[in-house]
Symmetry: C2
Subunit: 332 residues, 2 copies
DNA sequence: ATGAAAGCGCTAACAA
DNA sequence: TTGTTAGCGCTTTCAT
């Protein structure tokens, strides 16, 4: 293994000088710098990251915690983070576990081991608040993405879930729908709650009665729920369903079709997120677009800023959603 | 920050003893061990990973290189890796970049920096062979997953792409189809080549003429290609299309529907991979299932073994595919 | 079974 | 502008 000593020897300078040119931390005479650079190239030297980390307490790596890598919502967010992190010579470490608790404790351990310089937390559920507080009190650079936290003051970048849902509902109402059902996602998720509230308020403002069903954030649950809904006589027939995520909208639409009904002729459907397959020709889902890539980029940028300027006050960025009108909503 | 010295002091032992109990590397008197453990708990001590890494040249982290995290094929593979790695106290670092070259050089840099203890490479294209060879010569623990390499002897775990494609083609032929078109994926990918060969051989064996079209591994390209195919008069009408990945099959099916034809009544379609949405009710794609999760698990296991037993000869695991018959293929 | 101490490769304080 | 050197927190050799 080639070390800084080898470079120093070959270039006829001290290890300090090598370090200076490596990190640009002090002016170095051009001749010496040249020699050092040549030596580095000749021996194909790469600084050891553990040694660096031990000295400087920085590892150039930041952690991204997501609930489920399998959920097509996250990869783009991760990509966004990665793009800006990479530009700044940081590496992204992804933490993803179906067991919420496991995941957080893992990350906290790594933080305490000094492996991470900062973390980005994506869409945790409200039950994590305690862990979050602990992290916050450690004063460890952390930003929350895609989640709004009322009770705890942490940096965050989120999407305006409320107004996206409000706009989506208004769209349906504008089309003449009155009996609009909302499928909510995972119960504890603030994202779901905000979206639900946007829907409820839009309904009430228009003198309509909100009606919430459980979609549990999954295709399957939404599918069965829809089946039940359609076959339940006591249910006044809904003319539109607002699914609080695209995945759920897919389940809804598939169930509708199974029953010999069609979207949007019999039932209008609107989703939320705008996953990549929502624009496919066979789907053409009208939905509320969430700028996931941008969310990731902004989160990473904010984190980087915090890491360089610890004293800065807390930031709360809110990105806007966009209603994407495709072909799953008809006027009544 | 709590260090090993603090523990040693509090427990009235040497730092060596603390290290021994921490790593179980030497027998320690039960009394002392108890004291040490109490001290660790009391001070809430966690060993610093950089210091450990510097000393022991191990970082308990391994890298997974994938082409595109956005491709729904990979998350499950990553999950599989993560599951076994986590059980063995390793962390997974995901490298994913659309620019192939960038990605590899990044990983190689990290290897040389000593950040990684091993790497798993997923589905690279043939143009990476040089980088791969370099890695191989470094004798750095590496396993290739979902890729078959002829010219270079590296550990690998792959799926039997050839026979999966062969079986899929036979299925179509068994249904009476003769005019079966194969949509190939990304050109340089060995995976695509193997699948194509399986198709070609099955066709020839049955006295049929193979016909390959470019699907480029994407929904869009397959969509347009299918449109062209259907509207091209010179093309004798195909009765079945074998897409070498599900994503491409989706594009094919959507294009077919756009033309007023239907699957499987007018054209049978079969995919490859079995992505999560392939089983959705509106899709029900007949496909060749690739055990992605298992692929990841086996790759991680193999890597771990290599890391502990460097001298072991090269391993080449081949997992089997499974033909999943759903509803997109009709008898002719 | 245990402790003293060297040293992993690097950065940066201090001295020149 | 440059060099000497201490020391980051840990593992492990050597001695006991």
């Amino acid at each position: 293994m080639v070390t800084i000593k080898d470079i120093a020897k070959l270039a006829n300078v001290s290890t300090a000088t090598v370090s200076y040119v490596l990190n640009n931390t002090r002016p170095v005479h051009p001749d010496k710098e040249k020699k050092v650079r040549e030596a580095i190239k000749e021996l194909n030297y790469v600084p050891n990251s553990a040694a660096r980390g031990l000295r400087s307490k920085k590892n150039q790596t930041i952690g991204l915690v997501i609930t489920d890598i399998t959920n097509p919502f996250y990869p783009n967010l991760a990509k966004g983070c990665q793009e800006v992190l990479k530009q700044n010579d940081y590496t992204l470490m992804m933490y993803n576990s179906d067991e919420q608790h496991d995941q957080i404790s893992n990350v906290v351990r790594h933080v305490r081991e000094g492996k991470l310089d900062g973390i980005i937390l994506a869409n945790l559920v409200t039950t994590d608040i305690d862990n979050l507080k602990a992290l916050n009190e450690l004063n460890f650079p952390t930003v929350i993405v895609h989640r709004n936290l009322k009770n705890i003051n942490m940096d965050s970048v989120v999407v305006d879930n409320y107004s996206g849902a409000h706009a989506g509902t208004e769209h349906l109402i504008g089309l003449g729908h009155k009996n609009i059902i909302f499928f909510q996602g995972i119960n504890e998720s603030p994202v779901t709650i905000e979206r639900k509230n946007g829907y409820i308020d839009a309904m009430k403002t228009n003198g309509l009665e909100p009606c919430i069903k459980e979609g549990k954030g999954s295709y399957q649950a939404s599918y069965s729920q829809t089946l039940k809904l359609i076959n339940d006589e006591s249910q006044k027939n809904p003319t539109a369903i607002f699914a609080s995520s695209d995945i759920m909208a897919f389940g809804v639409m598939d169930a509708v079709k199974t029953q010999g009904l069609s979207v949007p002729e019999d039932i209008s459907v609107i989703g939320y997120d705008d996953l990549f397959m929502s624009s496919w020709n066979s789907i053409q889902l009208t939905t509320v677009r969430v700028p996931t890539f941008e969310l990731g980029k902004q989160a990473a940028r904010l984190l980087l800023r915090k890491m360089n300027n610890d004293s800065e006050k807390k930031n709360h960025l809110v990105l806007q959603t966009e209603l994407i009108i495709r072909k799953t909503c008809n006027p009544l």
